[in-house]
Symmetry: C2
Subunit: 347 residues, 2 copies
Amino acid sequence: MKTPTIKDIAKLAGVSKGTVDRVIHKRGKVSKKAFEKVNTVLNEINYTPNLLARSLKNTKKYHICVVLPDFKEDLFWFPCNEGITEAVNEFTSFGVFIEPFFFNPTDIQSFIAVNKKVLKIAPDAVLLAPLFYKETLQIVEKYVDNNIIVSKFNNQLEIDATKNFVGQDLFKSGRIAASLLHMLIDKNSTVAIVHIDEDFNNSIPMQEKEKGFRNYFDQNKKTNHTIETFNFHQNNLTNKLDNLFKTSKNVSGVFVTTSKVYKIAAYLKKNKIEGIKVIGYDLLNENIKHLNDHIIDFLIHQNPKKQVYLGLTYLVEYFLFGKEIPEKSLLPIDIITSENLETYTVV
Amino acid sequence: MKTPTIKDIAKLAGVSKGTVDRVIHKRGKVSKKAFEKVNTVLNEINYTPNLLARSLKNTKKYHICVVLPDFKEDLFWFPCNEGITEAVNEFTSFGVFIEPFFFNPTDIQSFIAVNKKVLKIAPDAVLLAPLFYKETLQIVEKYVDNNIIVSKFNNQLEIDATKNFVGQDLFKSGRIAASLLHMLIDKNSTVAIVHIDEDFNNSIPMQEKEKGFRNYFDQNKKTNHTIETFNFHQNNLTNKLDNLFKTSKNVSGVFVTTSKVYKIAAYLKKNKIEGIKVIGYDLLNENIKHLNDHIIDFLIHQNPKKQVYLGLTYLVEYFLFGKEIPEKSLLPIDIITSENLETYTVV
DNA sequence: TTGTAGGCGTTATCAT
DNA sequence: ATGATAACGCCTACAA
């Protein structure tokens, strides 16, 4: 009735616990006779090791560092802290020490500096928001050289040194945005893709989203929409938007590729421009406000909190129970309206 | 650096491990002096018990039974098996034995019979899909009398004997359906709420969904929609639908309150009726097919797999680590289109 | 009231 | 090559 233990197997096979252990873990130094005796028993009963006992024995403390942008620079990252807190609460009693490190997302140097610091600390693993491609490449190599396991989240960079990734399929995300806008806008109208703030050329996520968005409309040519892309920086935004909306461009919908969509919404509200459909990313308070005001029609939920929590969970279960870390864990792409919003924020 | 153990505390306080244990667990039989000595140490250092060690010591095997409808009668329940399988894979190595029991959802007697069987087995806990109100009331009472912990999923019944519930807010679910349809249909048109198969009067979920759906349109009267409710049984469905769609009722949208929405879709396809917007529940293969064909516009994901998995996780963590079971765990209400569908099915 | 001893299942070490 | 033994941290039983 109870799960058989190594002791039970030893008794059944007529050998000692040590021998059974050697057979199970292929540590060698076992005679053929003993090996066969143990193996026949193993084939008859279904032995599964007690994971609790195993990791109790392994008294090692694990140290995981999370490297991510400071939310003071970009509120998108704020929920990650909750994810970290939850993981801390859940895993400290298992001897796992989780420590966050923040960098300035607008400053490559700070990214480099923080990673250097973490490298010096030499944790067992790092969960990383790899915002900068070239720099990530270099730092990850160093981590790996020092036997530090690296997982990435949010930003999927193709790096040979480490594959572990938790995030979303951003091309598909762009397609979904397109299909939702498509549902709401008139034929023959113009749709604007707006990139705000970040340097488009260095932001693979923004590029992927745009590709997906355009891909959808390319496949639905019969409705004959015009897609135009705009790269706006924060300064001078109002002028740029004046240009976009107050000319006769017949813009019926806007797709903002980041969480900065509230800036567009605020502009539309202030200028009392109505009837333009807006879709963007993430459940920031500012965005939620405009979603409830029906100025933003849809938000796509990137679930940064879950990304971090899941990334940490994978690492912890790897250390504690030897589970494999999935190379690519793509989260569902949630469509949020003012109606179902609440069901995502309460939990 | 390392987490302090009871042994460490004992040494610091100058008493034995046993005394520390008595203080921590308030087992009494401790002198004031000893109590204070231990307590001052406890206040200085932050002791957290090692949960692995605790539950290793507790060699008890836990038995959890899941009571749910047989998916052969209603495919909605099929994904629950995956949830159970995942939980089994995850938790057997922790000494938890999870066993499913199926009943016929159209047959109250089978519900009663299965629960009697489970009661006889006397597991440590039961995770229950409480389809029938009165019968659930009685059986839950018996479970509780026998010190069997009961959690419910999917169907939220107000029962005093046990509160634990994992599922969705169905009123809100109805509202969400309404808002999505509202987005797609013309003003002044008629919307049909269709209940298929189940006995509406006994199905609280269907009633809640209808209430939510009507509530939304009541609050948006300016668009002047007419809402009509239809209770259809499986037999004679075609005739009933002929009546509904081929008369001049100007039906622009249909809300099906269950996973049987594929039946409506199949009818519309067969009869080449186009332009009617359709929304329903659950990611059955039949529904997915019609979603990809754009006959169904939206599906609402009730995530039965996750409901079961989460319900089981709560029970396991309660037994193993003494975590509290949340009284009400409401899952997000996911909006599924043909575009984001894939991101929900892969994981 | 207090301390000690032993065991949960696994693994590492040390004799044999 | 093999078996005995101790240890991980917690808890329980028993002895003092």
